[in-house]
């Protein structure tokens, strides 16, 4: 199971990095999201993939799952959701102001 998870996480990361390196803003934002999913899967795998009762509420069970990685992922998902939403709005606003979504044409201010 862990091997399968490792391969899945690896695929998610490669897709994410590929999207992140492309030139279109929307693809870059999708890339950060895909990487975030990979990270969430990684954290849940790192907590150990075992079967067991739910802690505290699960009643009598021979083993319990570790609740901490799930709490971490919940927090990470919420944060990532908010940041991605803001990033999408920002990208749309940038498109309206500059008229392009090509990151090459969004180079910084001309200094000299």
């Amino acid at each position: 199971m862990e091997t399968l998870m490792a391969v899945t996480i690896g695929i998610l990361f490669s897709i994410g990095v590929y999207l992140l390196l492309s030139r279109t803003l929307l693809r870059i934002i999708l890339g950060t999201s895909v990487i975030a999913y990979g990270v969430n899967l990684l954290i849940i795998t790192m907590g150990g993939l075992n079967k067991g009762g739910a802690p505290i509420l699960g009643g009598e069970a021979s083993s319990y799952v570790d609740p901490l990685p799930q709490a971490l992922i919940l927090t990470a998902i919420v944060i990532n959701f908010a940041v991605t939403a803001f990033l999408l709005v920002l990208a749309y606003r940038t498109y309206l102001v500059t008229g392009t979504d090509n990151i090459d044409e969004l180079r910084g201010i001309d200094d000299e």
Binding site: M46, L90, T94, I109
Partner: protein, 500 residues
């Protein structure tokens, strides 16, 4: 020592920010709340400094859950001193913002956002839990994303996008490191991490995670991985840029200081060696950048990068003297970088341009501004008795203390001193071009009036001069911070008294 005051620097800005969100239309009330929040948070932090100095490290277990299970807030000397500095700097930047930020930005939640940013910064300084550090970083970063793009000018939007994508990616790397660390040692409480890693030994995998964390905080602190900084720090208005320059990168430095003194201190050759190399490269690249540009905002932004390099250089030596110097210089850097950005902001406010070549002769109409700028340049260069001197002196002396056994120390000292020259050259060039020479701008042609803008600058300058001249008075506090950083047992015993 359990102590409820520990949460106040986190709680006051948070509550103030929420209240301001309710009172959206009432700008005068928001201004008063901003000032009061900074004053109260500053008073609470000063009280913390006093208590930590007299009674040792103060902790607070959130919700009453004991340390390794719940989230714990820890105020040691390093955190408390940085909290005090944060309050002073944010107060000065807010006073500056009252006149310069414009009613447009005020209407769109500028003041609440600053309070949330301070919440995140103070939370990062106080937390004793690695995942909580990530959350506080995100609180700070989300506020900074909005502050950076508030106003929506072209350069703010294009720079904001890059800044956000870089930071989102760095945060993902941070989470990966947290996940790996949890898999290896099964805890995220920093004191507990320290115990467990000391028990199992810092193996290759743990060191690899430590290097990943250096990359993460290097991105956040602009330590060598600084390519995003010059653009994004020159896009927003002066008050916001000053808050960023004084606080954001410093939180990254704090995280490096905390983790690599408390948790990963077993493989100094790898982790601290890497930090030293990155610090040297940062100083060189920052120095070249500062000298290369003819735009005030860019020059100042590259000066931030040099400062980051110098603090980490002091830390990477990892001796008591060098740590004292690094902490002293870190606080100096926060105060003086805020002052420098505010003064640069004054120049741009008056002339409406950041190009050094287009400005000249400001000193005939604005002597106080000119001389304040000049004294700031001297302080940043490290001329005694101003505040830059003591930090640089202690760090350079500590790096030479290794003698010929550690030739790296000589290289670092040489680079550090050379960078001081570059700081002086790049900033004096601004002074000579914009303040001296023929006065081309009469008072009625100026774009904005600086009436009232110099009082926050004078406040920062007064604190800075006191910090430099009164170095003797401050020294015992800084020394205690350095001593407790080098002795992780003190921190562990305060957080987990029953484990040891």
């Amino acid at each position: 020592m359990m102590n409820n005051i520990v949460i106040l620097p986190l709680l006051i800005p948070l509550v103030a920010g929420l209240l301001m969100g309710i009172a959206r239309g009432n700008i005068p009330l928001q201004r008063w709340l901003s000032v009061l929040s900074c004053l109260f948070a500053g008073a609470a932090s000063l009280l913390l400094v006093k208590q930590v100095f007299e009674q040792g490290i103060q902790t607070l277990a959130m919700g009453g859950w004991p340390a390794p299970f719940g989230i714990v807030l820890v105020a040691d000397m390093l955190s408390s001193l940085l909290l005090v500095t944060t309050s002073i700097v944010s107060l000065a930047c807010l006073l500056f913002a009252f006149r310069t930020i414009g009613s447009e930005r005020e209407q769109y939640y500028f003041y609440p956002l600053v309070q949330f940013l301070i919440t995140g910064v103070n939370g990062s300084f106080l937390t004793g839990d690695l995942f909580n550090l990530y959350v506080c970083f995100e609180v700070m970063l989300v506020a900074s994303y909005v502050l950076l793009t508030l106003g929506g000018t072209r350069s703010q939007l294009t720079e904001g996008i890059k800044y956000m994508v870089i930071n989102v990616f760095a945060s993902s790397l941070f989470l990966i490191a947290i996940g790996y660390l949890y898999a290896v040692v099964g805890t995220l409480n920093m004191a507990h991490l320290s115990i467990r890693i000391a028990e199992i030994g810092q193996t290759g995998f743990t060191t690899w995670v430590a290097v990943l964390l250096i990359m993460v905080f290097g991105l956040k602190a602009a330590l060598f991985l600084h390519f995003w900084l010059p653009g994004s720090y020159s896009a927003p208005p002066a008050a916001i840029a000053a808050i960023f320059a004084a606080l954001l990168t410093k939180v990254g430095i704090y995280a490096i200081l905390r983790l690599f003194s408390l948790v990963f201190y077993h493989q100094l050759g790898i982790t601290h060696g890497l930090l030293a190399v990155m610090a040297a490269l940062t100083m060189i690249v920052g120095g070249i950048g500062a000298v290369a540009y003819w735009d005030i905002r860019k020059v100042l932004a590259y000066n931030v990068i040099i400062g980051v390099g110098f603090v980490v250089f002091g830390f990477s030596l990892f001796t008591p003297a060098a740590l004292t110097g690094a902490i002293y210089y870190l606080i100096h850097d926060m105060l003086m970088k805020a002052l420098l950005f505010l003064l640069g902001g004054c120049v741009i406010w008056i002339t409406g341009s950041g190009k050094i070549r287009e400005i000249s002769g400001l000193i005939s109409n604005h002597p106080l501004l000119g001389w304040l700028f000049f004294v700031t340049v001297l302080a940043l260069t490290g001329i005694p008795p101003l505040s830059g001197f003591a930090g640089k002196y202690i760090i350079i002396r500590a790096s030479l203390a290794g003698g010929t056994d550690q030739p790296g120390g000589y290289f670092l000292a040489a680079i550090g001193l050379l960078c001081s020259l570059m700081i002086m050259y790049s900033l004096l060039r601004i002074f000579l071009h914009s303040f001296w020479g023929e006065n081309t701008l009469s008072l009625d042609m100026e774009k904005g009036s600086i009436r009232g803008l110099l009082s926050p600058c004078l406040l920062l300058m007064a604190v800075g001069v006191f910090y430099g001249v009164g170095a003797e008075l401050v020294y015992p506090y800084i020394e205690q911070a350095a001593v407790s950083m080098l002795d992780p047992d003190l921190y562990i015993r305060a957080v987990l008294p029953e484990v040891i």
